[in-house]
Amino acid sequence: MSEHVVAVQPEPDMIQLLTPEGQRVDHPDYPLGLSDEDIAGLYRDLVLVRRIDTEAIALQRQGELGLWASLLGQEAAQIGAGRALRPHDMAFPTYREHGVAWCRGVDPLTLLGLFRGTNLGGWSPSEHNFNLYTIVIGAQTLHATGYAMGVVRDGAVGTGDPDRDTAVLAFFGDGASSQGDVNEAFVWAAAGNLPIVFLCQNNQWAISEPVERQSRVPLYQRSAGFGFPGMRVDGNDVLASYAVTRRALDDARNAQGPTLIEAFTYRMNPHTTNDDPRRYRLGSELETWKLRDPIERVRAYLSREAGYGSDYFAAIEDESKKLAEHVRAGCRALPDPTPQSLFDSVYVTMPAELRAQRDEFVEFVGSLEEASA
């Protein structure tokens, strides 16, 4: 089997605006249009979301979280895309988009309930225009597509009014690209010329399976067959990720239809805290990708080209420590759900038979407490 599969190589035309060494490069189709101050802001985002991630992993090790899906290595793809969104745009994440959540203004503690086991997400998608995390691989790409259909029906594309025109950003992984749901989403988005951007973070691995298990062609080329453009961006370059996503979101808002962006990146940590990557990949691969670290290159740019000094970096380090404390203390303080909340929100209108089941349950739990008192 395997000899028929062509390894997917990074394309020479991968869009990059900042080299791993921190050199700015221009791309004719993707003018950056950001000041050094804006870039410094992106740097802050990158550092802070990495810190959230580091803390969450530590909390998992201490038994405070049941599981964590780390974004290490994927910060630039997420921050670039997340910062390209406008407030009224809508994002549909997987379970790994902690960086996008950050950009949407979601308190990191909100994300922790799902991983701590105190709730199943529990946030309102409309509060920050950030949908619930979706664990079932690929399902959210169809939800995003349907949301985009609603946007069109509401007349919220192509009006030229920046406060009205709305785009939808759907995240998924390289593994997810094989799911029927994702391919159906492509079909619907193309057929309806919908205002949606599909952002595939190709982090090279779907748990133990390398991307070659999913595709013989680079993933960004998938969209061509469906009839909309696709491009590959250096997902470890926050500037390119930002510029490319902004352009695609603009096109969507301007009724130009869908785009597929493949953010070429690397999952530097295990798939989740349960995973042991030593069983399936070489440590040397990680070493190679460390040289393309998404944060180091921005720091190099800021200090070498933009005159940012140690004061700036120290201030961010300070802020990062405070954020870490917020995550640690906040996680431990997350309230446990009450037993009877098991029966909450199963239906909008609770059927009588379920209410009876709940009442029996409450009585039973009460009798146990009495017995042990």
Partner: protein, 330 residues
């Protein structure tokens, strides 16, 4: 390790399944394994550990990430004469394959007027109690048991795991094979010299006061309950059903004729669950033996809860003993 040598040895359920799969592959070159991460990784639970190394990439296939694809291509392989064993990574991820299972796998034999066999085994690590995030703790057996053409079985101990997985693979009908994941690394047990027929229930603890019937993940809970009840002078008969569809009604009815009382427990939600079917059959066939209504202790009619509440939701020891109390006080 050659498979015959595991008989009489003590294994965990995870290792017993691994050995059973290995034996099935040795015995029949048409057996192929397919699923997400089943190759190099050996599956997220390591049930297929080492099989790709020993049998090659064309017999232990790391599939693209698509469950409908896994089961749908298994149908094609079956038509071509293969005997596919599909691994679904977690219970909650079988649903993208639901159409393939209930409309295609289940019906092909019937639609072909008996000319096509679909000897597919779909292995599903199922059930809760492992502190997982959502979609990783579900008990989907009722959906499949409700579908004609599918057989549904659940192993509860290492010896059954070893034998039943081989029987399921050798069966010419499609089998949904449920593996209680929280028992994978529980106590080791000896592998019996010979299997029990796949769809035969087994009395695993004799008793006289009442019958406690269950399968899969809750068998160990039932045994604990019987132990606790015995300390209070109530001798429970415990039945491991082993097969959810078909159900060995005879063994249950025989027992109820002797004890006069029945409690059925499973993790799957209450309404329309296997316990309801068993209750219906027992009242049809042993009505005059019953001294109490058949009771059910199961998961509640809610989605599987966040892990901090799973112990309350699951039919745990307290809940089963409470059920026994209610059953005995009739």
């Amino acid at each position: 390790m050659s498979a015959s040598s595991v008989i009489g040895t003590s294994l965990t359920m995870a290792k017993a399944l691994n050995e059973g799969l290995r034996k099935a592959m040795e015995d029949d070159p048409k057996v192929v394994m397919m699923g997400e991460d089943v190759g190099k990784l050996g599956g997220v639970f390591r049930i297929t550990d080492g099989l790709q190394k020993d049998f090659g990439e064309d017999r232990v296939i790391d599939t693209p990430l698509a469950e409908s694809g896994i089961v749908g291509t298994a149908v094609g392989l079956a038509i071509r004469g293969y005997r596919p064993v599909c691994e679904i990574q977690f219970d909650g991820f079988v649903f993208p394959a639901f159409d393939q299972i209930v409309s295609q796998v289940a019906k092909l034999h019937n639609r072909s007027a008996g000319q096509v066999k679909v000897p597919i085994t779909i292995r599903i690590p199922y059930g809760g109690g492992i502190g997982a995030v959502e979609h990783h703790s579900e008990s989907p057996e009722a959906y499949f048991a409700h579908t004609a053409g599918l057989k549904v079985v659940a192993c509860a101990d290492p010896s059954d795991a070893y034998w039943m997985v081989q029987q399921a693979i050798a069966d010419d009908d499609p089998v949904i094979f449920l593996e209680p994941k929280r028992r994978y690394h529980a106590a080791k047990a000896e592998i019996a010299a010979a299997p029990t027929p796949l769809h035969q229930a087994r009395v695993i603890r004799p008793g006289t006061a009442a019958t406690l019937a269950t399968y899969g993940a809750t068998v160990s809970v039932a045994l604990e309950a019987a132990e606790a009840a015995a300390a209070d002078g109530t001798q429970l008969e415990v039945i491991d059903l082993r097969s959810v569809s078909p159900i060995d009604t005879e063994t249950v009815v025989d027992s109820v004729r002797r004890t006069g009382r029945l409690l059925v427990t499973h993790e799957a939600p209450l309404s329309f669950g296997p316990a309801a079917e068993i209750a219906a059959r027992v009242q049809e066939q042993a009505f005059y033996s019953l001294e109490a209504p058949v009771l059910r202790v199961t998961g509640y009619d809610t989605p599987y809860p966040p892990s901090r509440l799973e112990n309350e939701w699951l039919p745990n020891l307290d809940r089963v003993l409470d059920g026994i109390d209610r059953l005995m006080s009739y």
